[in-house]
Every structure is written in C-alpha cells, then in structure tokens.
Symmetry: C2
Subunit: 202 residues, 2 copies
DNA sequence: GACGATACGGAGACAGTCTCCGCTTTGTCA
DNA sequence: TGACAAAGCGGAGACTGTCTCCGTATCGTC
C-alpha cells in the first residue's frame, strides 16, 4: 500500500523506485566528487535518462536539498542531544556550531549553494538554513544570558561564520592545522571568557 | 621605443594594444557582472576574437591575476602607509586586514579563485596571496609581541578568515549589518584585549 | 617593397545543463 | 484478465560556455 498522491491516485511504483535510487546514487556521487560533478553523469550512473533525473529534481539545488533532508534529521537529533546533555550554555553553543560545521562538510563545495540560498527566499535550501539559524539563536541566546557569549553577536552571523569557516577549511586541508586554527579563531570571536583565559587550544 | 621581447625582436604594437584594451574591458566587465561572466562576452565586448583573448590570457584565472596586478600596487601602497602612520600594532593589523578585505572585494566572486589558489602552487594568483600572507605575518607578529593579538593566531589563518569573511559578506548584503557583524566577530577573534573591553562596535 | 615571423579571428570541437515529445509502463475499472 | 487513460521514462538535441586550431591579415625588418 503506497501513499496516495495529492489526488486520489496512487504514486506509481517505478517513480518512487527511481527517486530513491537516484538519491542513493547522487549521495555517493557527491560524496566522491563534490557537489559540482556533472548531473548527466549522475543520471547515467543511476541508469536513468536525463529527463527522469530532472523531472524528479529540477536542478542541482533541488537534488541537494533532498539529499540534505536525511542528514537534517541527524543534525536535529544531535541538537536534541546537546540540549539534553550539555548544561554549560557556552559549551552547548560550541557543540552546536561544531555539529553545524560538520553537517556543512557533508559534501565538498556545499557551503557555496548554502550561502547563495541565504540571499534568496525561493530556494529549497533556504528553509533548511532558516531553521538552523533559529536553533543557533536559541543556543546563542542562552549563552548570552549566562554571560558566556558577547551580547553583540547575532545568530545569523554565527551561522554565516560557520559556513565561511567550512568554506575556508577546504583550502586549509593542505595545511592540516589551519582547520583547527580557524575554528578556534571563531570561537574566540564570540566567546566572552569570564576569567580572561585563552579559549580552546588544548 | 617599445620593450624588446625575450629575443631581440620588438613586441608587436597590435599585441600590446590588444592586451591593454582587453584588460580595460575585462576590468569593467568583472566589476559589473562579477568574475563569472562569460569569457567570450569579454572578447566580443573588447572587439577581438576568442582566440586573441585566450592567447593573451590562457584562462579566467590568468586574466584575473593580470587585473589584480594593478590593484596590488594600491594595496602595497596602503601597507606602506599603515606602516608609516599607525603606531599601535593592533590597529595596524586591523587596518591591514581591512585593506585586504577591501582588496578581495574588488570583484564579486573573487574570494573563490583566491581560496583555490591557496591549495595550489602553480596558479598565478598563488604568488600574490603568498605575498600578502607574509605581510600579514609581519603585522600580526608585531601585534603579538605587543600583547595585542592572541599568540596562537597564525597569519595564514587570518588571511583565510579575511577571505572567508569577504566570501560570506556577499551573502550578508541583504542584511546590511551582517557585514559589520562578521568583521567585528573576526577582530574579536584574534584580538587580545588588555582591559577586557568589547572590541569595535563604535 | 618584399619577406618571414607573429598575431588575429572565428568556426567549431567539446562539455554541461536542461527541455521536449514519442514511446513505454503503470494503475484502474469493467 | 484485458483494455484504456494517465503518468512516467529516455535520450536526442537546443542552448550556453570554454577553449583550440589554422587560414588569413598585419607587423617589423632589411
């Protein structure tokens, strides 16, 4: 018993099967080659025509959005875990930003379309981003109330910084320690240390 | 008297003229449309064939590098001015990073090829970047010696952060204040305030 | 002015995105 | 179970952009 479409009719099984299969293939493909690999190549690898690919996902961004959907649930689970288990609000924010940073590294090149999505409001990725900004707002607000984050920092900027850091990271790979350096730099940016100690750098 | 080429022969005047003209046109074109506009469109606008464009500049990156050459001199002049006029080493570093941030905003989309250039060593942009990292090192070193910058910050990371901030800025344009927020966040990241005051935010 | 070297132009090879439409497959209903 | 309409499929090809190749035009020299 498949779900019914918007009208009474059933969703055709071949359609459903294709959709799932394309997603599987695209997931692997993007993971291997980064998000800018050829769309037609994905279609070919999935064994479907280009038309089929584009009927399911009208462009690269839509495909990406569908792929991220699954990961979103993971990230939301992680958010809940942090809420539950982390009592220190600064650490909670830091952990959330870490989780975000990891999520955005799911595929090489992902930060770019996300950044673009932030400038639009039509994009399927925009809503996702908005949701995560809201969550950031929540963690940030708590940290600010507790005096663990500068009061002038804004959630949207933190989100953008996380994106930007992830973006920069893919240039830093040659120099491994840069990755950590950038994260530390960002944390040091928003964090308001009560006792004047240097953040991070374990 | 035109300069001589590597062999004894003079450089052909039409070649020289074309080169200059293409650069003028490309400068305006990139300024208008960002760096991802069509190369053939530049050739057409310059009134030359595609072949001529590509003989002078084998790819977009080479064209970009040639365009930035001129601006480099500006930036270097600014560097010298800061060296001369700014006695506070933290402010000097801040000003230098501001200047860098501005330079990198010369054309929309510029941060991306610069980031890529940092991962390579063949690119014509790489050398330029390296030079600026070295300058950053100088300013940062001074600030660190004076206790105005965290000792764990590294010049390369600061350069990358500047790039990343500029990159993020073009998503922040819709929300004007984000641009400033990001810069403040970054400065707050490297700066080690002696008296515990909040940085920037005048 | 003639000649060889050099540069020019633009047609076209190639690669990518995305659309369109004839054909096949599917679900439904008798 | 068979027949019919609706839905989906495939891939040729339109379109856009990058970059190359080579016949032709231009330049500098002697």
């Amino acid at each position: 018993m498949s779900e019914a479409g918007t009208d009474g009719r059933r969703v055709r099984t071949d359609k459903q099967r294709n959709r799932v299969h394309i997603l599987e293939v695209a997931e692997q493909f993007f993971a291997e080659q980064g998000i800018s690999g050829s769309m037609d190549a994905i279609a070919k690898r999935a064994g479907v025509g280009a038309g089929t690919l584009y009927r399911h996902f009208p462009n690269r961004e839509a495909l990406l959005a569908a792929l991220l959907q699954a990961r979103n649930e993971e990230l939301e689970a992680r958010r809940d875990a942090i809420r539950r288990e982390e009592s220190d609000s600064s650490d909670a924010l830091a952990q959330w930003l870490d989780a975000l940073g990891e999520w955005v590294t799911a595929f090489d090149g992902l930060p770019e379309p996300l950044r673009v999505a932030l400038t639009e409001d039509t994009s399927p990725l925009t809503i996702t981003c908005q949701g995560f900004i809201t969550t950031t707002e929540e963690f940030l607000g708590a940290a600010q109330r507790d005096g663990g984050a500068h009061p002038w920092v804004r959630a949207r900027d933190l989100f953008l910084s996380t994106l930007a850091t992830a973006w920069a990271r893919s240039a830093a790979l040659a120099d491994e320690s840069s990755s950590e350096g950038l994260s530390t730099l960002m944390r040091s940016g928003w964090e308001k240390s009560v006792d004047g100690t240097t953040p991070g750098a374990s």
